[in-house]
Symmetry: C2
Subunit: 142 residues, 2 copies
Amino acid sequence: MRRALDLAEEAALAGEVPVGAVVVRDGKIVGEGNNLTRTCKDPTAHAELVAIRNAAEFLDDERLTGCDLYVTLEPCPMCAGAISHARLARVYYGASDPKGGGVDHGARVFEQDQCLHRPEVYSGVGEAEAAELLRAFFRERR
Amino acid sequence: MRRALDLAEEAALAGEVPVGAVVVRDGKIVGEGNNLTRTCKDPTAHAELVAIRNAAEFLDDERLTGCDLYVTLEPCPMCAGAISHARLARVYYGASDPKGGGVDHGARVFEQDQCLHRPEVYSGVGEAEAAELLRAFFRERR
């Protein structure tokens, strides 16, 4: 999660909403990313999607079986769907996102009967720092 | 939708689940894609995401304001989330997907209070052909 928080901070410096994500297999980082929606002009370039695509490319496999995702913010429905498609084993997220989250709020993607793969989910990991990065970012923009 | 169906057929020929998608602005195609999850070894490469990213790149804008999406299958939660992030105005989809859809089934992403942008949704456009492509694909694989 330390690396994910550093990636979130890099995103903030680039003017992006500070979210970072890392994919880990057997204790090693196999993919990482931060929010790049503005930089790449790509509405799908959330940290999780960037990290998942990065890991799939690195491992040369569309299924990230046995991999874990560390992300500084609760994934949105798009990212939760991608996590399920990628067959990630575990998700550790930092700050809760009542306004945009799709794991423990709103669409609750993993709780749907039709969800074919449900990762284990652990919330609140590095929460204080992740939330402070987001608060500072939006405070500066106001 | 004719182009989206042709793209779905191309996907089937490549051994991919046959789904095609096209982004249209002012009557012109500005982005397109088909399902490439196996070919690209990318779990996020659903037709809609490929088409949205293609359109955002072509228009050099992360917001596809005023654009419509034509897709042969009901979008999953991941793709529904991406459609909302991309600010697409309208979604026309072909076949309904009770097992994997996230628009009129399961997560119902656009119906959540927290969904910041809801496109108009029209279902059943080119449904018979879209569904037959999928049936034929899975029949052959059994």
